[in-house]
Symmetry: D2
Subunit: 137 residues, 4 copies
């Protein structure tokens, strides 16, 4: 069984993320995960979303699963930690944890399942060997 | 075992929901569920979010679970169907389905677990009897 | 001097639009205008955004000007009124008013200047005669 | 005539900011300005939005004026430069410029007029002397 690297991205809450309870709106945490993941794809895996698009490929989210522990508020900073849990024939599961800074207290965690698709058809496609190699770090 | 009513709300995609794949951004579907749910709380359950706030109570999302089937695009319309699956001592599980209109094809489904909190402390609080009665339809 | 038709679209505030003051976040009003405008382009002018895209054309916003009068809150409904003020060689000015429902009190008004661009190059392009005819109602 | 300091904040585009043209959605640039401004209020002026709220005060946007020059795309970074242009009895005009990094090319610029309000009533209130002093740097 493979164990894959965990990568971290620091982000800050934006004022338009705040909801009526003066907390980050529950749906925004997944936006933070995507922002972190996109940065990590380019910086750490060496194959960015635009690089996939240039090959006619895209990643579509199949499931999202989030457990909320404590909310972030206006001006808060966070670290978003992401890693690949496992591959399937046409996709992968990405796990994530968001911790508040500087305390390191858990904000939320969960996972997303992704399918690799051919953008022209929207159909699932087997992971190319070079993609799997780049992402198996 | 109780079976609770399913309620429906029709919504339309907003241009700012569209992502780089010309689909609704994956995190927006949960916004649609919340929009539908807020409307249904007021219209069908007779106790709106502001009515909870007036009693010092709020609903915090504890988990979100979404399964994506097919994306919505610019100008698409949908029906968002929500219902209570079960109550816990301090919360409930709300299930949802989003279907595309007019075809009725499934866009996504899933559930959210909520905890009722006292807004002043952020702590979970047992469901008041009258709240449970109003929401047990 | 031409006077162009005013068209109306009814919309509702979504919970994710609410900010820390429990009002609609100031930047969302422009999203409402775009949502209304897209609907009106399809329904009233008979040439939708996807129809422009199919001809390789897009509308880029050049300026936005908003005057805020009174905020909307959770669950509020509104009417968004839009009309063309004038055409330029490669674009047009769209004026808008948002009124709260059912009172009809003014929420905000303003205008946006748009440029028609060839999507392949991102360059401004003169308004085709048939487009100008369709939008001169 | 006073000339006030310009302050800079670096931000990155988030994937959920991207629109159907694969550019940042036009309404998000104003969100970047607010995010930068909130950071600068805390860091440079020494009186943050929560500090205003603790005194029962809030800043409401009265007008927004944006001129768009060139769009940002997925993964782009920017610098947001903000400064006070002038004070009125109950508010101020904040000017802004967003430049793309690392080129420094202009993305958009404009200004927002703000009114200081008493949160309990929503009514405009004269700028307290200590606030004006802190913000006159």
């Amino acid at each position: 069984m493979n164990v894959f690297s965990k990568f971290e991205t620091e982000l800050a809450v934006r004022p338009d993320d705040i909801d009526l309870y003066q907390h980050v709106h529950s749906t925004r945490y997944l936006d933070y995960v995507l922002a972190a993941r996109f940065e990590q794809m380019e910086k750490h895996y060496g194959m960015s979303m635009p690089a996939f698009a240039a090959r006619g490929l895209g990643w579509w989210m199949k499931t999202a699963n989030v457990h909320f522990k404590r909310p972030l508020g206006l001006g808060d900073r966070m670290v978003v930690r992401c890693w690949i849990d496992h591959f399937t024939e046409t996709g992968c599961r990405v796990c994530f944890e968001i911790d508040k800074l500087p305390t390191g207290k858990r904000v939320c965690d969960g996972h997303c399942d992704y399918t690799l698709v051919t953008l022209a058809t929207g159909r699932a496609t087997p992971l190319p060997e070079d993609v799997k190699a780049k992402y198996s770090i």
